[in-house]
Structures are given as C-alpha cells and as structure tokens.
Symmetry: C2
DNA sequence: TCTGAACCTTCCCATGATGGTAAGGTCAAG
DNA sequence: CTTGACCTTACCATCATGGGAAGGTTCAGA
C-alpha cells in the first residue's frame, strides 16, 4: 500500500475519513497531495502520523497538545523532558477532572442512598436540589 | 426582592444572565415575562428554579436530565423511584467516564515513569505513540 | 459501452454548555 | 441632559466528532 485513498488510510489508521479531512483543515497534519481528479493520496508515512494522532487521542490529549507532540516527534533534537512535561500536565488535568467527577458521584450516591425509591413522592434528591435542606446558595 | 431583573436573578441564583437566557431559549425554564421596555422579570420562584438548575449542573446532570428532574419536581404525584433511577443512571455514567480517564491516567503514568525526562531525545512516550513498540494498530 | 455501486469532493448543520462581543435600547443617578 | 450600568438580540467561538446533501470519479460487471 504505497499510495492510498482517504478511505484506505482511514481503515489503516483507525481515524475516520471525516476526521482526517478535519485534521488537515486545522493543520494538525500536512496537506495531502491529490490525484488529477482531486482525490487525496496518502503514503505509509501519512498513516504512521495518523496512528500517532489516534493513539494520542486515545490517551485523552487535546488536538493542541497533539500538535505539540507531533512537533517534538519530528524534532530529532528534542529533549525528552519536554515530552514528559506535556504528559505530566495532561496527567494533572485528568486528575482534576477525575476528582471533580468523583466528588459528584460521591454526593449523588449519598443522596440516592437516602432516597427510598418507591411509589411515594418524598425524595431527598429533589429536596437537596431545591435547596429545601440548608446548605449553599448563589 | 419580589421582582428582579435578569442581573439580579443571576446574582441571586448563581446562574449567569447569559445562561438564564440560554435556558429560556431551549425551554428548560419558563419564558420570563417582560417589562414594557422588554426587560425580563423574575420572581423569587424563578430564582428557586434557577438554583435547582445550578445545583443539578453542579452534580453533572445534563440539561436534558435536568428537564426531567424539573418535571418530577413539579409533579406532586411523582414516585421517588423515578428520581432515584435518574440519579443512578447518572452515577453509572460518571463511573464510566471516571474509569475511562483513570485508564488514560494509569497508562500515561506508566509511560511518564519510563521517560527519563532529560536533555536527550530518546523518549518512550513518543515511541509508544508512534507504535514503534509492538501493541495495537488501527 | 453503459450502468450502478462505491467511493470521493466540498459545504453546511448539529452536538453540549458556556463564553465573548457588537450594536443598540433603557434606566437611574448626578 | 449626560453618563454609566444595565438590558436587548444576534452572531461567533470553543472542542472533537458525526451526519447529510449535492455532485464528481472510478471500477467492475452486463
């Protein structure tokens, strides 16, 4: 598969054709060369880049971060410290989001635990949301 | 504060004026009545609703879910079982997202741990993303 | 050679919740 | 009457992704 259509590159990389075009539009990946008819053409090297992007997305990196990672990947004189710094930043962000959701989950579990969950209308979950119980305001 | 402007309602509820208008546009909250000049007017009851929405958002409920919760809150003949079911669904969704991010975090920590993070270019993080190491494909 | 399926192209719209800004009207205090 | 703070609507942006329409291309099979 030296030269591929966008559909073949999509199948080979795990990135949808739709997203490949989108990544090109936003300059995350290089502009693809075209056939006479205007069809995009991809090489194995392009697929390699697309797989890199897909794996980075799988780890939750943003497009902006992936652009940075691709730059470092290309840069033979990079320092691994810069890559590691990017990773650690992302880890911190993940931790922040996990903690936020964990807090929500814990609170919801507490409320759900208090709720009888039967045919009757009395519901501590709604009471809490309504602020009938004391606690916070605006 | 029997009757308030949108700014006052925002301050009293913790929901920005911007979002109050947005919630009205999407029919999450009732359409506000207007002054002769076209300014929206809010009552204490409206602020109560807005606070409900804000607290529900704070627990991570989606607008769609909050619409359902508001319906149940209004419905004096609701069963608490339905409220609890909504809450449990949301808890499950939170768990799913937390697990997903936890997986990312764990993998990234493993990679970051392997990376020297010094001036040299060798970097297991990039190698993994590039797929130089074995593992998955597209 | 014609035809149809399967592909490609671009362009626009939608998601979900939120923020920003611009252009203009209103109101209250000075 | 002016000024500043507020309100109005309308549009655009975020972030990553998907859907669909309208139209061109390619290739295989009849």
């Amino acid at each position: 598969m030296g030269v591929m259509s966008i559909g073949e590159a999509a199948a080979a990389s795990g990135v949808t054709a739709k997203m490949i075009r989108h990544y090109e539009d936003m300059h995350l990946i290089p502009e693809a060369s075209r056939t006479l008819a205007g069809y995009r053409m991809y090489s194995d090297k392009d697929v390699h880049i697309l797989r890199f992007v897909r794996r980075a997305r799988g780890l939750g990196f943003s497009i902006k971060q992936i652009a940075d990672l691709l730059g470092l990947w290309r840069d033979q004189s990079r320092s691994s410290a810069r890559v590691k710094a990017l990773a650690l930043e992302h880890i911190a962000e993940l931790e922040r989001k996990i903690a936020e959701m964990q807090t929500m989950k814990t609170e919801l579990e507490r409320l759900a635990h208090c709720c009888h969950g039967d045919h009757r209308p009395e519901c501590p979950i709604l009471e809490q949301l309504a602020g009938d119980s004391p606690a916070d305001a605006g």
